[in-house]
Amino acid sequence: MADSGAAAPKPSSSVKLVLLGEAAVGKSSLVMRFVNNDFQENKEPTIGAAFLTQKCNLPTRTIKFEIWDTAGQERFASLAPMYYRNAQAALVVYDITKPSSLTKAQHWVAELHRQASPGIVIALVGNKADLAAEAAAGDELGDDATEDTDAAPGAEGEEDADADNADQRRVATKTAKAYAEEEGLLFFETSAKTGKNVAEVFTAIANAIPEASLKGPRGAAGGQSSLGRQEDARVNLGSVRPEGAKEGCAC
């Protein structure tokens, strides 16, 4: 788990990360867990987006996540481009007890692929794993974290067997995982409530960010303004920035 190892001599770079997903899938809770290691049942809904930061220590470097936690209500979707703009990483969250939330997540992935910075690292996260039946959740989550593909089918069977148990899972791990692989996404099932896999998600993202696209603390990246601010950048990010732009301002 990341801590505020402020004086770390390791090179430090900041990464803009945006959370997207349907309302009430637990985006804010995930962030809360990651940033404060805390869980609140009743969190004020996010208006627009909340901004938080947290450091993540890797063996070779420190990543400072600048986290944009967006509002999930459908009508806020049109505001999202303003938050994912320039993001280097995205957490697309769905709720494993709600199939519709996976569909929504897929839409977000498509949106990001097309509109966000090229090379953005996307993680697909099925939250509320604590609501899945114990056995299924237990086996699978551990395995997924270590990217073990074989575990999925087995777990699936188990899950079916437990279906009438207290298992509220409605999205099979296999389904989501297959989709994630197809799209080249990181994939995790997490529980913000128990803390399961939360830190792992962020660590995996930190590791996945290509070295080249890392910039120093944002202050040094002032030259980035060459990207310009189109009049309508807020909503329409139609102009895809050239791949080189990012590297250009690495320092």
Partner: protein
Amino acid sequence: MFNLSNLVQKAQQFIEPALPLAVPASNDQRPSKAALFRHQFRLPDSQSPLQEITAELTLSPHHSTRSSSSESTTGEKERGQGNHYVGKLHLSEQYLCFSTQGSSFLHSASLTSSSSFTGQTHGAGPAGNGFTLPLCAIRRVERLHSQSYMFALAITTWNGTPDSKAKKTAPSGQKLTIQLAGSRQQCERFCDALKRGLREGIKDVENLRAVVAECYSEYLLIDDKDEAAKEREHPDTGLGMIFRYPGNARKLRDATKIRLWKEYLRENGRSVTLVRQPTFHKLIRVGLPNRLRGEIWELTSGSFFLRLEKPSLYTETLAKFSGRNSLAIDEIEKDLNRSLPEYPGFQSEEGIGRLRRVLTAYSWTNESVGYCQAMNIVVAALLIYMSESQAFFLLSILCDRLLPGYYATTMYGTLLDQRVFESLVEKTMPILWDHLVKSDVQLSVVSLPWFLSLYINSMPLIFAFRVLDVFFLEGPKVLFQIGLAILRINGEELLDATDDGTFISVLKSYFSRLDESAHPRSDNPKLRAVTRFQELMVVAFKEFAGITQNTISEQRAKHKDAVLANIESFTKRTSIRNLGPESKRLSVDDLGFLYDKFYAVLYERQQRAEILEQEAERKAKAERTKASAIFAPSSGDNVQRGRVALGPSPTEMDYDAFREFLAGIAKWAITDSPSSPEQENSQPSHSYFGNSNRNRPSTSPWGSGPEPADHEFMRRLFRQWDVDMTDALSLQNVVTGFAQVKGTKDIMSNISYFFELYDDDGDGRVDREGILRISEALLFLSRRGVSQSGSPAASTTDVNSGDHAEKGNPDEQFLSSVSAFIRRCFEYADPDHPSHRGDHALDSATKDMDNFAIGEDDEDEDLISLSAPTSPAPTQNKDLQTSSEDHTPLSPHDSIKSAKAKAANLALDPNKPLYITLPTFRMVILADEVLEHFFEVGFSSSFRLASTSPPSHSSTASNLTTFSNAGKHAAGSTAGGLGGVVGGAGAGVVPPSKGLRGMLDNIVSDGMRVAAEVKRRMDEAQKEMDREARQGRDDEDEDDEPSPAKDADLLEGAETADVETAGKDRLPEADLLVLTGSGSAGGGRKRSASDASRKVLEFER
């Protein structure tokens, strides 16, 4: 609102110029003026300015002395001999309003600098000094004798509750003296109107009494010396009564504020009768006292007047929808526990219950907004200071007037105001702006929540409420002023911030220190005492005094289109991406094109419907008397409804819209006989038309685009694409449909697709009638190749003169191809085996019938009826019969039966039902080069999408307009006679579909010839058949030479129709009759063909 006049103009283009629909320039001004008036005085939408006159308001000195019971009152303005305000007096249906002009108040207290926020504000600004007085609150009006010729009125208001009337101490109502400055005539007119209004107002007194009784001010003022009144129940002033108001009351100097307000209210009237003087504005600027806050918010925002209008709307709404569920309610439930959770009231069931009820009630009254996150926070804040009902109405005012579009499903208002805010920052703080741009910090990520939740979750509550105090009085510009001031004050630090994170944390820490001294190191103790919040207010209202409501409106108007366009492109992008795998068969450009077309059609249709509706409304209103009690909804504000970015808009198109849609995409879908009202009348029974009829009172409903045709083929397409059987197509349906048509280059699948369109029961067979329909559809699709000369309505200008020379040939080619198609179809079609051809027709009809009955359970009925009637009436009779259906309602079965019966007569032995299968169909198509080409290219390219170059005109398939030449002749000559039938076709309009029908006739007769031949080869089993065959030949002869002779036939044709109708049920005899008339039927056939839609009707039945 903003480009209303543009819209109206645009709208007018949609409507045919000849329409009586007058949306004259004068008309488009009116709603906006009324809106300005309503906004200025915060009046409900039911009010409109009836009278207006310059006047001088004198607050009588007597008034101030009379209130000597509290002689401590030394409000500076009262020191004189009363105050004089020059301004405008307005009269609406239920209100008398007065407001000073901007110039009347240049001197003013330092903090307020009222000149900037009083006076004329063009819309939503504060109403300046003056009053907004419901007529029912006026107790009496006297005309004063005055010097000069001036009219002077003394108005005594209804002030005080009834039970205080008896007490001599209770003020018997304040007196306002108003001098009218105008010609005698004007004054009299005003007074007359006022008199009428007062009379009407009497009936509202009950409402007034009820509403006013809930006002804290009444309670506050009464308990002075009045023992009885002290027992009055304390009005509900929000959760704060139970859970304490936020902040430290002593620190907020609540008691002092209450005292000051008490004085002010005593002298200047309370609740409805309140007169706004400069002190009023000042008292609000320093912050409202807790218990009075709700009431003043209500008054200054105008939600009070809404409540006065419908005092029980809140409870009624709750009762009406109790137990119902909705998406909004689900969303509300999710957020109830997380709305101002730090306030104790919202940790209790009481508070949460109130919040739930208010949000729910609002979501029902405005379903298009429903519920938006952030509303929960705003309402929670309101509920601390007001009752549920008060909060409900204030929320309505917020959503509808103060924050338009903020909470809409696309949140366009929020985005628009962010854009406005950015441009104001750019203008007022260019250095900071440059810095933001340079460091790529997006301002709205910070400022958006400020606006969306009115600073409530950005600042500590007590300060946010101070902002709200001013916001409700002065309008939305306050949000901008505060926002600019925040940036100005933090400017230096922000210039050091180079990323979003720092930017946000600078402001966060600023907000958390608002209660600290703004100048902690100053030597001047007074300066040290100024808090950061006070500094903020001063900067906001002094330094940014130049930001007026006018500025905001202008900026909004300037950026509106861009913002809406952005939202729309976002929506488009998203929705195209989410269309599913089928859509991948079309190019992105095509999808974009379809998306645009789809929504453009829906949007335009809605616009037209709305304008017509408005017009009707306007007329209705004009017809009514000038009675003052008219409630006219402000429809003018809603003209843009339906634009995607503005919120929920229709997402499905009915059949009519689909036709319009197709007409914009495919040439063949444009009608040949524009705007014949008779076309509508002939189909009153159809559900699709039930819909559209409402849209077209006496007018072409097609707007600026070409009027679409209504061909059976289009209906088939519609039904094929309507996979959910909802009688409506979503974009998804349309795209999937197009993906099937255009998404493949494979001729085989195109052929199969076409075949399936006509395979009604999905059994892989198309019967005789179907074959004819297919051939007709082929002609329909290809009838408009090059020139449109015959059709004045057609706006397409794709005359390709290059092809002119060879025009005739391809047309003829196609024609003969189609006739060959029919011939071959009949040749190869067979119930069971290919061997069952005409030669073997000796097999009796009954045998065939048996075959069918056994093989095709589901077709039993039709088939039996097919074989039963079997008398050879030429096809045209089918049409005759259809056209006559206007007067003869038939059961669907009859109609199908007879239709099929007629159709059966067309070609082969009618006793012998037949069908073709897909392989046969395919074979027949492939056997003909022209048709093959059509299915390979022509059909799918007849839909012109983005990436499709206009269909090559030289392609054989689409180059067939010369039909019209053949038909036109006949058609032209018959046009006169057709007048009655075609009706609205208008002078000189020749329905060019005559051409089509002419060609079809030829084809049909071609088929007839085949039939005749086949029949002759038959064993002449029945005499009747012989006769038929002969008859068929007769017919063919006639058809071969389309000549002026048809003129005469027409009338006879009409007769035939009658005969036909009469005899329809008794089939055998009827057919005989028809036979005798069949010679003339050719003309009749033409007539009915001019109106292809009839066939569709028949088919549908």
